[in-house]
Amino acid sequence: MRGYVPSYELTTPASLDEALALIANEPGTWKPFAGGTDLMVLLEAGKLPHRNYVNIWPLRELRGIQITNDHVTLGALTTYTEVQTNDVLRREFPMLCQAASETGGLAIQNRGTLGGNIVNASPAADSPPALLAYDAELELVSSAGSRWIPYDGFHTGYKEMDMRANELLSRIRLTRATAELQHYYRKVGTRKAQAISKVCFAAVTRVEAGRVADVRIALGSIAPIVLRCKQTENAIRDKNLDETTVRLARETLMREIAPIDDVRSTADYRLRVAANLLVDFLVKLRS
């Protein structure tokens, strides 16, 4: 049954500073509310136990995409629609745009935000595998200041994050590559739109003379957190893309991930699909 609407507070601060002061003064009392595409679903199901929210959606400080020579920096409230329509992102970070285009449908993409996708901390989220593969960094702000941290390591357990109660995620930073990269992103769900992933696979690679000079791989829906698969990367990096490499990488990935049975799929199916996606990625890389 739907949550009782009059018991929920949603207060709108005039500025980011005001929002930060509010969450600092009453630690743990206030949680951020952005596009609502996850929280309103919980409200409808009567599964939104927390009652007090700060409406951060109107905060201009958390919007916009900044491009410099070295970086693309996205405000945490950047929507999936804004991600898909940015030329630099389409050219240089195509997996992020693909993830955005395969999340929900247009109405969800107009409201869902990149920052929300990160801090909602679902292991089945679609943009985190791409962000991990691109080695994204996060800026966390509080009334005491700000800190930049690598996204890799931010999720510490199921729905647990390296984030304090007085902090908000403010920006996501991507480093622009100087070399040519190969991008491979596949979301496997029950249908193309409006589906939550069974398995999501993102990999970015730099190939030099048939040899894998660098590789970063991340998967979703195969562990309690979205996982950067470093053992699998090590099985591929500095290797030629021959049959032995493909076989060893596949075996490594199957040991490195730990999918479970749930409403959307089974551990067995996820393990097999993840392995197949890795092989497909490596075979495409070779050709």
């Binding site: 929920y8 949603l10 609502g36 199901a45 929210y53 247009l106």
Partner: protein
């Protein structure tokens, strides 16, 4: 218990001042406070698109928007699509080509199509499929809806 607050918003060109609980769903405010029952509730969790409205020029699922976030906004519902007695080309095409059966998905489907044609006046087949991907229909099998949108573009 949270107290109601006053917000202003513009729906189909008309300004309204309302006292609302901030977490009330835009869907309920439209249907119950403003009596605009053309907007339908399907799943209530952003999966089906029956409650689609246009909010500041973009389609949204009104079941997922708390009303505190639409203070000062401009909203178009199905009641605001026609120009007086003159139906929108999309509405006319749905009538002529059998785009509606039971009618529950129709308002959302039409708003998604109106939004699509505003962004892409001559959409490709793929554009139409992407534009309507968030709207589920359990009657038509989609082909009549698809054909209605194609015909609406030809007007």
């Amino acid at each position: 218990m949270v107290t109601k607050t006053a917000i202003e918003l513009k729906v189909n060109g008309e300004s309204h001042k309302l006292d609302v609980f901030p977490m009330s769903r835009l869907l309920d405010v439209l249907r119950e406070d403003l009596r605009l029952t053309g907007t339908k509730e399907g799943c209530g969790e952003g999966e089906c698109g029956a409650c689609t409205v246009i909010l500041n020029g973009q389609i949204v699922n009104s079941c997922l928007v708390p009303v505190a976030q639409v203070a000062g906004a401009e909203i178009t519902t199905i009641e605001g699509v026609a120009d007086g007695d003159q139906l929108h080309a999309v509405q006319q095409a749905f009538i002529e080509h059998g785009g509606a059966q039971c009618g529950i998905c129709t308002p959302g489907m039409i708003l998604a199509a109106v939004d699509l044609l505003e962004r892409h006046p001559a959409p490709s087949e793929a554009d139409i499929r992407i534009g309507l991907a968030g709207n589920l229909c359990r009657c038509t099998g989609y082909m009549k809806i698809f054909e209605s949108v194609v015909r609406a573009c030809q007007k």
